[in-house]
Structure formats: C-alpha cells, structure tokens
C-alpha cells in the first residue's frame, strides 16, 4: 500500500518513507489559469513546483489529507492545490453521468481519506464543507473518498 500525505495540520507524524506534501512548509504557486496543462504541454503544469507531488500522488494507492477549516471552507492554499490538480484530467467533457464531467487522463487514481481539524460556525457550514470535498473528489474520479473530523483519525490511530 503506497500512501501519500497532504497536510496543513501541525503535529502529524508519518512513517519516514511516506511522501508528504506539507502545505505549511511549502508555498505552492497559484494556478495561473493559463491552460498550458490542457493546450500546450498536456498533463504538465506550467509551474514545476508540484512535479514531485504529482508523481507520488499518481503512484499512490491512497492519499490522506490532514486539513484545516478556514472561514468555514477549505483554506486558500488547499484550494490552490485543488486548482493545480486539473492537469490530471482531460479537457474533454463527458455527459455520461447526466451532468458535465471532465474525463480522467490516467487509468487510476488513489483512494482518498480526509481528516479535517477546526471549528465551524454552524452545522450547515460543516455540511457544505463536507459536501464540497466529496464533490471535488467525485469530479477527480476518486473511487473511494472518506471525509471525517480529525478526532476520528486520532481515535482509530490508523498507521500511515
């Protein structure tokens, strides 16, 4: 089982040989909307700062996100990471599911587990946050996505 970790939560301890994208330590360039990844260099972002992560992500069986809650939503830096995942999908649109979807560029993507830490101003805000994340991973052709508060990870003590 190859796992890749994406974290913006402090004090997450992982096995030494597990690839971790530490969003606290690494500033990721914002998507420039240039469409290079679709038009000019298919599958490759014009920025190279995430190439090591892209390689690890597409090799992984599982991607585990430890993320925060920012103004009742995902943080700007995580949103930037989502924007930067677009190279892994084709510009083609499919309507097979009855709605517009981008087609996958790769045969397989890792399963996803999300553990979030932070307070919401209301239950409906939490619901929107979870529904939004579920939708993102659906659009990203992630077959299995689990989205839970960080407490549940700590209780289970799942080893990564």
């Amino acid at each position: 089982m190859r796992t890749v970790v994406i974290s913006e939560v402090d004090s997450i301890h992982i096995a030494e040989n597990t690839f971790m994208l530490d969003l606290n330590a690494r500033a990721i360039k914002d998507c420039a909307g240039c469409w290079s990844c679709w038009q000019k260099t298919p599958g490759r972002c014009a920025f190279k700062d995430l190439d090591d992560f892209y390689t690890a992500f597409l090799q992984a069986d599982k991607a585990v996100f430890f993320i925060g809650v920012s103004c009742d939503f995902v943080s700007g830096r995580l949103k930037t990471l989502f924007d930067r995942m677009i190279p892994h999908y084709l510009p083609y649109t499919s309507w097979k599911t009855g709605e517009s979807m981008h087609l996958p560029r790769y045969d397989r993507y890792p399963d996803v587990e999300v553990y979030y830490k932070g307070a919401f101003s209301s239950d409906s805000a939490r619901q929107l946050y979870e529904e939004y994340l579920a939708r993102v991973f659906y659009q990203f052709h992630i077959k299995r996505a689990v989205i839970k508060p960080l407490g549940e990870y700590e209780q289970c003590g799942v080893a990564i």
Partner: protein, 217 residues
C-alpha cells in the same frame, strides 16, 4: 456610493471574467474602479475592499468553487461595517448551474459571516470561450450583463429577472445529456482541442500521461 469591483480571475485582464466586468461597467455607464486578485497582494486588496460601500467580486468557477487566490483574499477580509454591501458574479465553463451550487451556498454564507448586506450571486455557465468566440455568439450574454450593470447603477441591486436569464438551466435534462454524449462519441466536441494541440505542435500528445507510474505505462 463607492463601488469597488474585484476581478478574482487568475488570468486578470486577459480572461473571460474581465469580459464580464467590462460588459457590466459598460451597461452601468459608471467608471467603477477595478482591482485584480492576480496582480496585488491579497492584504492590500482586502484593505481596499473594507473601504468600499459596495464590493462586487467577479470570478471564474475553479473546481466547483472560487479560485485559490480568491479564497486567500476571503481569508484576509474583515467584518463589514453597518450598511456595507457585497455581490458576486461567477462565470463557469460547464453549462449547468448545478456545477456552481457549492460556491453559491458558500458565497451567501460568507457574506452573512462578515455581516455584509448581500446583493446575491449571479451565475453564468457555458462561458468558457467568451473572450475568444465571434461577436454574434456573445451578443445575448453581453446584452444581459449590460442590463445587469445598468440596473445596478440605478438601484444598487442585482436585477432578479436578468439574473435568472443569466443563470440558465440548473440541470441538463436527461434527454439532452444523452444527445450531448452521442455527439461526444462522434468526436465532434473534441475538434477544438485537436486544433489547439495541432497549433501548439503537440497533436500526438493531447492524451499524454506524463506522471503515470512506470509499471502501467
């Protein structure tokens, strides 16, 4: 009444969002200042936003939500003073309004969180080629955006009927989705992409998998 427009597109002055901003301003007949999330630090932008009586934020839909740089701006914004207003205009590539539903919910919630009087969220799908396609294809859209601007300049509100026209369909009717998919299989929808690839000298590479694990290549 001081209105500030923020263009939240990573493409700044060269994207579809800018076309929306310009058509809105044309209709309003007012020289509203426009600032760009792609061009200045979000802290400066948030400080300017705090000074506006009405803040209008235009943005493209990126992965079912606002672009990362717009969320970074939101993180810097401070609670509104009494009577300050905010409104949003979102343009999206996919045709159906349902694609924008998470962002609409969040933007309304965000306005409430900061205590702004909320003018609402204008949405427009099927806008991917707005800055590239010939004029006859955008005439209706531009008329509506101008009408939205004209009404705003007089009432400081978004016109509900114009908003509904811009919003278009919420979901693709099942019959239509089947038809789209039928044309899709015929390959006709891919022609534009094939042209981009040919023009860029990467015709054979459009479907490349540069980060695929070596074993499954």
């Amino acid at each position: 009444m001081k209105t500030l427009i923020i263009n939240g597109s990573p493409r700044g002055k060269s994207g579809n969002t800018e076309v929306f901003v310009r058509q809105f301003i044309l209709g309003a007949g007012q020289d509203y200042p426009v600032r760009y999330a792609a061009q200045e630090p979000v802290k400066d932008l948030a400080a300017a936003a705090a000074q506006a009586d009405t803040l209008l934020i235009f943005m493209p839909l990126y992965v079912h939500a606002m672009p990362g740089i717009v969320m970074k701006l939101f993180e810097q914004m401070t609670p509104a003073n009494s009577g300050q207003k905010i409104g949003f205009v979102v343009q999206a590539g996919f045709v159906e309004g349902a694609q924008v539903r998470f962002l609409v919910r969040y933007l309304n919630h965000f306005a409430e969180r900061l205590g702004y009087e909320n003018l609402g969220v204008i949405t427009k799908g099927d806008a991917a080629g707005t800055s590239m396609v010939p004029a006859f294809m955008t005439k209706k859209l531009f008329n509506r955006l101008q009408a939205l601007g004209a009404h705003y300049s007089q009432s400081s509100q978004f016109h509900k009927d114009t908003a509904a026209l811009l919003a278009g369909i919420y979901e693709i009717p099942a019959r239509k989705a089947k038809l789209y998919e039928f044309f899709n299989r015929s390959g006709i929808n891919h022609i534009a992409w094939h042209k981009f690839w040919r023009d860029n000298g990467v015709f054979e590479k459009g479907l490349d998998r540069p980060f695929a694990p070596a074993t499954t290549d």
